[in-house]
């Protein structure tokens, strides 16, 4: 059941690009919706233990593996891809354009699914790059100066990351002779003090931090997120960078670096700086999407901080927050897409009073913002709570306090956003704005329902879904 997750999108790309374009162009959206829904169903089945015989596995010995962390990520990928396709359907004009967009989404899907399912450093790198390539083109999709500049910045910094990771992998290959997680892990343990290995570890971590957009490796992120078309920002911010950067980091710190103390202290520091810089920068933004981009940096900081804490509870909190973040940040970007398409701008100084005009967008944005700020009983509250409790239990009181106080900042800038965009008087020239199309509102409603549902059922979730996540920690 695992290999189809990689092979079906690939098959879809091949079939859609057969020389029967007139037919396939119309079908591409439905294929995308079908693929993402199938992925969600497949994850549910896998989670419930329906590990049916992998019929194709005989022919493709890719070494795919699946544990609970992978399942959570696969689920997020499915949900966010669905939202992306729904938003893309509405916002990208022209059938040809839309067709191209869907193909790129499928490529990104292959990349992300591969990233989370492979247990090998080099394969990990390959699929991260597949995702990145899709991302470059998605950012530059509109082909204007802004988009090209954003894409260019991402390419430059991504290339830096590529160089670092390749260098690191080659060093490890030299020292150990193998790039599987298990082998790399034992090599790190045995070669205490070997400067070559230390450099390799450092370079790999930095590469992933660039991919994940953690301060001070985050320079590309605001420009890329805000320059990308609305639908692409949902995919990028919601899941693409999270998978290629943050997931990989979680995987490596747990199974390769094995809670190394100095790695953890670096992560704690980087996480805290990310939280603060992201939050303070977000307060000063007047562009809707830029604010959300900085907010993303800040929220990723929480995940990194929890990772640096290293206890089981903290890792559970990190994974849970990763999932929640992919949901509510996607939701906020979906809302920004709605606002952008309906009003034609994302400058918050020109917006205002859209709440009455766009009731669904307003309500879902409110839910997303409260969840991001960590207001009970929404999902974001619980994941932040777990992280803070874990920090406190591990005697990291300073970090816990900063994390709590930074929540206030989150509340501040998102409240500012909500007020400027949705509350108050209707801004000039926006008198005729209507609610966004059904594709966007459906995507927003699904994401909002997940945020509320996960938050409200948390007591059940905690024991039956979250605690088992820790089974991948050995």
């Amino acid at each position: 059941m695992l290999s189809p997750l990689l092979l079906l999108p690939l098959l879809a790309i091949i079939i859609l690009n057969l020389p029967i374009r007139s037919l396939t162009q119309k079908l591409s959206v439905w294929v995308g919706i079908g693929l993402s829904l199938w992925q969600i169903v497949a994850v549910v089945l896998l989670a419930m233990g329906h590990e049916s015989a992998d019929a194709w596995g005989k022919y493709f010995t890719l070494g795919l593996s699946c544990d609970n962390l992978t399942l959570v990520l696969l689920m997020s990928i499915g949900i966010v891809t669905l939202a992306t396709i729904l938003v893309g359907w509405q916002t990208i004009g022209g059938e040809k354009q839309r067709f191209g967009f869907m193909n790129l989404v499928f490529v990104a899907m292959i990349g992300m699914n591969g990233t989370v399912m492979l247990a090998d450093l080099f394969s990990l790198y390959i699929f991260i790059e597949v995702t990145a390539v899709a991302s470059f083109i998605l950012i530059a999709f509109q082909r204007n100066t802004n988009a090209l500049e954003g894409a260019f910045k991402y390419i430059i910094l991504s290339a830096t990351a590529t160089v670092m990771m390749l260098l690191s992998i080659s060093i490890i290959l030299l020292v150990v002779g193998d790039t599987s997680f298990a082998a790399a892990g034992s090599a790190v343990k045995q070669s205490q003090g070997n400067p070559l290995v230390i450099v390799a570890i450092g370079l790999f971590i930095c590469g992933l931090l660039i991919k994940g957009g953690v301060v001070p490796f985050h320079g590309w992120l605001p420009a890329a997120y805000s320059a990308a078309p609305a639908a692409a920002s949902v995919l990028l911010a919601g899941i693409a960078t999270k998978t290629s950067g943050i997931y990989a980091l979680i995987r490596l710190t747990t199974s390769v670096f094995a809670n190394n103390e100095s790695v953890n202290s670096i992560l704690l520091l980087a996480g805290t700086i990310s939280i603060l810089v992201g939050a303070f920068a977000a307060i000063g933004q007047s562009d809707f999407k830029k604010m959300l981009a900085y907010s993303s940096i800040s929220q990723v900081g929480y995940i990194i901080l929890a990772l640096g804490c290293g206890t089981n509870l903290a890792i559970i909190g990190a994974v849970f927050h990763l999932f929640n973040h992919s949901i509510f940040k996607s939701l906020l970007f979906v809302n920004s897409a709605a606002v952008e398409t309906q009003s034609g701008t994302t400058d918050m100084n020109k917006l205002g009073g859209l709440g009455t005009k766009m009731p669904v967008t307003n309500a879902t944005s409110l839910i997303a913002f409260l969840s991001t700020a960590g207001v009970p009983p929404l999902a974001g509250f619980w994941s932040k709570l777990i992280i803070i409790i874990a920090l406190w239990q591990n005697n990291l009181h300073t970090y816990a306090t900063i994390a709590v106080l930074a929540s206030v900042l989150t509340l501040a800038y998102l409240l500012l956003m909500q007020r400027k965009v949705f509350f108050g008087k209707v801004a000039e020239g926006l008198g005729n704005v209507k609610e966004a199309g059904w594709g966007i509102t459906t995507a927003a409603s699904i994401l909002a329902a997940i945020t509320v549902g996960v938050g409200v059922t948390f007591p059940w979730m905690f024991n039956s879904v979250l605690m088992p996540i820790s089974s991948f920690l050995k």
């Binding site: 910045k153 400067p195 450099v199 370079l203 001070p216 303070f280 920068a281 000063g284």
Partner: protein, 609 residues
């Protein structure tokens, strides 16, 4: 006659009061009829119950708190007096309050006040006493608040002052009950040292503030101007004196073993003396009929407290006799004030004068009552004051001096009041003034007549009403004969007051200005000016303190607010702009940051491995 009849003096006026409240604005006569009938019935009932001794008790809230009532000669006496006054005031109000708004509330409060007073007097349980006592606080507030527009401020003032002293009473009751182990008043007999003294003082504050003693008096002069006039005759002049002094007598005579040589006795006498002098000094310079009377209502309380505070049988008898006398002449005086207000439309002494020919009956009643309050023989005030002088002289010359000085100033101020209001030239507007109607005349005449009777035949009330309160034991061997030396001094003082008045009139040219030389005397001038600006009013001082505290709190609040509103925001926006400026958009810069980050990470890893 069954014991449960004792409930009727409470129940009749209370139910009648509630019924009156329901009657609409237009039907005045029905309200008046109900009020008259209810008070008359209560009066008749209390007179028939007068010689009875009844102990009535039904379980109430548990915890030793029963609905216990006790009728004996003291409470029966107060009961009759309160009911009689209520009946006369209702009769008076039938004419005075006609066509005034909110009449249903007025009669309701009046009747409920009577019910509560009867309940408080009859109560034989401290908690039950407190229950009725607090009920009076509500009707007091209501009666002032229905006065002229803006009277609610005075009502709040009265409510706060009386409420605070009631709080003291409540604490005193709690402490007394704790010390005595019972809440039943007739079983309590506590010594007055340590906690007992504290309990006594707390209960005493409740009692004397109800009677209107300094420093709990400041709402009374304000209410005199704001509240409906029958209220003044009804509560501060008569019922509250009866109630307050009743409680003071009960705690001094029965509930606590108060001794003549104790500090508490000295405290009581001092409060009495100060009350006499301060209030009479203020009364002397008033230019308004009702305000002047209201200060005397405070001043005379001083005599009663002084009398009871002496702890001598003769003083206590004098204090209690003065209580009933005061209720008589002061309510009579307020009623004459009401007549003048009703007929001329004002109580400003500057606009009055020469009314004695126009309103002869009112004038005669005024003269009798004024002579009584000034202590002119043979009216009732003279005899009660003589007894108090006698006791005060035994306890200390200073108290006697204060009392006799008070008498001099009282006489002087009433000479001024009478001169300014009834003698002299009549003003143009008052040329056509006529005597008031019969319903207003009857109460005045009746009360004035009782003043004369209680004066000339003073052994009647003394032997029948007052002396039984103390009992045979205490009175054994006590002489109540006239002290010729004291009488001579009193007469000399009164003649002095008359001469002083004539002299002052000659100097200033009119009765209205007869007290101006005292008002503008050196040293007193400044004190009076400050007093008129309410510098010494505990209520206003309290208000200022509270305002100061509230401003202090406001500052703290602003400071905290500043931290949130300005400080935090400035820090956040400052940091935000620094970070924003760092993000120039140059990818080369971002690559440099990343490389610095890499360097940092590798150095950190190197250090630890």
């Amino acid at each position: 006659m069954t014991d449960s009849f004792i409930l009727l003096p409470i129940a009749i006026p209370f139910i009648a009061g509630l019924v009156v409240l329901l009657i609409g604005q237009r039907i005045q006569s029905v309200k008046e009829a109900i009020a008259l009938l209810a008070t008359a019935a209560t009066l008749g009932l209390t007179i028939t119950l007068f010689r009875e001794n009844i102990n009535f008790s039904i379980p109430w809230t548990g915890f030793g708190i029963d609905f216990a009532l006790r009728l004996y000669h003291f409470s029966a006496f107060i009961l009759v007096a309160a009911s009689a006054f209520s009946f006369l005031f209702v009769l008076y109000s039938c004419s005075f309050m006609r066509n005034k708004p909110r009449l249903n509330q007025f009669y309701c409060y009046l009747l409920v006040t009577l019910a509560m007073t009867n309940g408080a007097v009859l109560a034989d349980n401290l908690v039950l006493l407190l229950f009725f006592w607090e009920g009076l606080l509500l009707t007091l507030f209501g009666m002032i608040a229905i006065g002229r527009p803006g009277a609610y401020k005075t009502a709040i003032k009265a409510f706060v002052i009386v409420g605070i002293s009631d709080l003291c009473l409540m604490m005193g009751i709690g402490l007394t009950g704790h010390l005595a182990g019972t809440m039943t008043i007739s079983k309590i007999s506590l010594p007055t040292y340590s906690l007992g003294a504290l309990a006594f003082i707390l209960m005493m504050i409740g009692a004397i503030s109800k009677a209107g003693s300094v420093p709990f008096h400041t709402w009374i002069p304000d209410a005199a101007v704001d509240a409906p006039l029958p209220f003044m005759a009804f509560l501060p002049a008569s019922l509250e004196k009866l109630l307050g002094i009743y409680l003071l007598a009960r705690i001094s005579l029965d509930m606590f073993q108060l001794h003549g040589n104790s500090r508490l006795s000295m405290l009581l006498m001092t409060i009495g003396a100060i009350t006499i002098l301060l209030a009479v000094m203020m009364a002397l310079v008033q230019k308004d009929y009702k305000r002047l009377l209201s200060y005397h209502a405070v001043s005379q309380v001083g005599y009663m407290i002084l009398g009871i505070g002496t702890c001598l049988p003769i003083g206590i008898v004098g204090g209690l006799f003065h209580m009933i006398n005061h209720a008589l002449y002061k309510s009579c005086l307020f009623l004459t004030g009401g007549s003048v207000e009703k007929q001329t439309g004002t109580t400003d002494l500057a606009k009055l004068g020469g009314l004695w020919l126009k309103m002869p009956v009112t004038f005669i009643c005024f003269v009798i009552a004024a002579a009584s309050i000034s202590g002119v023989p043979p009216f009732n005030g003279f005899y009660s004051k003589e007894l108090i002088y006698d006791a005060a002289l035994v306890r200390g010359n200073i108290f006697y001096l204060a009392a006799i000085l008070g008498t001099f100033l009282t006489a002087a101020s009433f000479l001024k009041l009478g001169h300014a209001a009834f003698l002299g030239k009549i003003s143009e507007e008052n040329k056509n003034v006529r005597e008031t109607k019969l319903p207003m005349l009857v109460p005045m005449v009746v009360i004035a007549a009782v003043c004369v009777v209680f004066g000339v035949w003073n052994y009647l009330p003394l032997n029948n009403l007052i002396k039984p309160i103390l009992g045979e034991e205490r009175l054994a061997g006590q002489e109540f004969g006239p002290n010729s030396m004291l009488i001579t001094i009193t007469v000399i003082v009164l003649v002095g007051a008359l001469l002083h008045h004539l002299f002052a009139v000659k100097v200033s040219g009119s009765g209205y200005k007869a007290s101006d030389h005292i008002r503008h005397a050196p040293f007193l001038e400044g004190i009076y000016t400050k007093a008129e600006k309410r510098w010494f009013d505990p209520y206003d001082i309290g208000l200022k303190i509270v305002q100061g505290l509230s401003r202090f709190g406001w500052w703290i609040d602003r400071a905290i607010d500043w931290v949130y509103e300005d400080f935090a925001v400035h820090i956040a926006t400052g940091l935000s702009s620094i970070i924003k400026r760092a993000h120039t958009g140059s990818y080369a810069m971002y690559v440099v940051w990343s490389l610095i980050g890499v360097l940092f990470v590798i150095i950190m890893l190197m250090k630890s491995f």
